[in-house]
Symmetry: C2
């Protein structure tokens, strides 16, 4: 039975799915519906801006639930703000669709707004166009002047830490195709949780920070190169989740934790003198923080496992190679 | 002869084509290369944000020169800021490409940065991904508090004005396929000029303003509906360019001016008491401003031509219908 899909014009589409469930923010002077949005910064704060694009078949497999896509396109951007130690304020959404169907948009916007409301982020504008299926989000946040955390200030001797359980997301992504396995792992891929509370708390404690999106090993390399350092790392300390170990065994689990990507955990370095402060801080966190190594002066990443050098094939996904 | 296209990894690509020719802005605390950018607002100003997505085959034809795409993706966003009466500061670029080739990127970035430098706009970040050919830009600008111009405040009796020569761009777009005709018209489509100087100057004079992107008739309808008004319009006053008239004759030229789109001119309304002020202002402009009608209380757009009602088929392009 062929059913005609209903299509919608842009104004109706925005009014029905995107103008409604807004976070109430007094700092939004003018929101959706004009040529641009007008917002107001707090005094003493700098503006922090991140943009990430997601396309079907590249960043998420075809068949990913639209609710998860709506969540994800905001989550990956919030994760960037978290990595700066910033607090999110506003988001803009450029949504591209081959056609506009009510069912798809309802689910997509439900996923987007559930996360936006959880962090009191207002959707202030964007663009809805006919095009290949994808979404580009820009988030704006604030950070107290001088308190943002860059990725280029790690120093030899600093401990290297990561939040959560890297590897879970890529395992979840692989499980999606098979329609089986741990619901928790699938959730880790479909609904990444931006570590905003943790990121803001780490400002003033972490010497350097970034989020893990391309894979822990690759992102560690970026942080160390940006800081002009290297690292010694212990693969036996990788915080592999029980679910990941049960799904794949320890060798594949390590591989996924190191090269999988899509984790959206925080990778950060902490000077030895601030470790006690960090311990007090993380005690109340819902997510673990695990020390996996130490920053060294010499460039390069040196992994060990049970006291011996550990080698593995770098299977990090890269966009252009 | 098949030649292998060279491809580039993302870091090299950003370093080579996007990190270099930056506007020097002291208000960029942290630019390209970290998880997010950090910028600083001036006191007494509000932040103005616009996002527009462009995709090949939808917003520009396949075969459009990459230099023009680089110009265009920034220009259409700057046009949104102009329509608010805002001054641009910073831009973020999410670029999506099936593959990264040096020649394409060199041209694209040359087009982008030529316009960015002309307006002292700094590229502060973005994302470069493998995906369908397209670009989504977010621009951020500033406006003195309370000075932004919305589209919902036109009042009965206000004059209705438009800058430049609507219709030129769509004619240029049609000529592209034919590889002939007026170079000026083709340029109007390929390299739209955002009316930033005019937009900022109109803040405090215009009662309502927006940019013309979907077509003058359609955008007029939006402005009047947002303002709860209607309009009487005189099609004989349409500022048709000499080149457009020569290329198509008066009937087709009017049609293109009314329904063509891609103009990126400013459409604005001015109360009668401020017309003298407007006249003094526009005297020095490089681009004409033309009064084409009057705002009326009754909803709807009533076009006339040489004193008689003027009807035409609304052929405005809409993304979803």
């Amino acid at each position: 039975m062929a059913r005609r899909r209903s299509t919608l014009d842009e104004a109706t589409l925005i009014g029905r799915y995107f103008a409604g469930p807004q976070a109430l923010r007094a700092d939004v002077v003018l929101g959706i519906g004009d040529d641009a949005a007008v917002t107001r910064m707090r005094r003493g704060c700098d503006l922090v801006t991140a943009t990430d694009a997601l396309f079907e078949g590249v960043h998420y497999p075809r068949g990913t639930p639209p609710r998860a896509i709506g969540h994800r396109c905001l989550a990956v951007n919030l994760s960037d703000l978290a990595a700066m130690g910033a607090k999110p304020l506003w988001a803009s959404l450029a949504l591209s669709l081959p056609r506009a169907t009510g069912a798809w948009l309802r689910e997509f916007s439900a996923g987007f707004f559930a996360l936006a409301e959880a962090w009191n982020v207002a959707l202030i504008g964007g663009d809805t166009v006919r095009g290949p299926p994808g979404a580009t989000v820009t988030v704006q946040g604030e950070v107290r002047r001088g308190r943002h955390v860059t990725r280029d200030a790690a120093r030899a001797g600093d401990g290297i830490w990561v939040t959560g359980h890297p590897g879970d997301a890529v395992a979840g992504r692989l499980l999606l195709a098979r329609r089986g396995g741990s619901p928790l792992l699938r959730r880790r891929f479909l609904y990444p949780a931006p570590r905003l509370r943790e990121g803001v708390a780490l400002a003033g404690i972490a010497s350097a920070m970034m989020d893990v999106s391309d894979g822990l090993h690759d992102d560690l390399g970026k942080l160390m190169r940006a800081s002009g350092c290297g690292a010694e790392l212990d693969a036996s300390r990788l915080p592999l989740s029980r679910q990941l170990l049960a799904a794949t065994g320890p060798a594949a689990a390590r591989d996924m934790a190191l090269c999988g990507g899509d984790d959206y955990e925080l990778l950060f370095t902490v000077p030895a003198r601030r470790e006690a402060q960090l311990a007090r801080l993380t005690r109340d966190w819902a997510v673990p923080a695990t020390r996996i190594g130490t920053v060294r002066r010499a460039a390069g990443l040196r992994w060990s496992l049970d006291g011996k050098p550990f080698r593995f094939r770098d299977r990090t996904f890269r966009h252009f190679r």
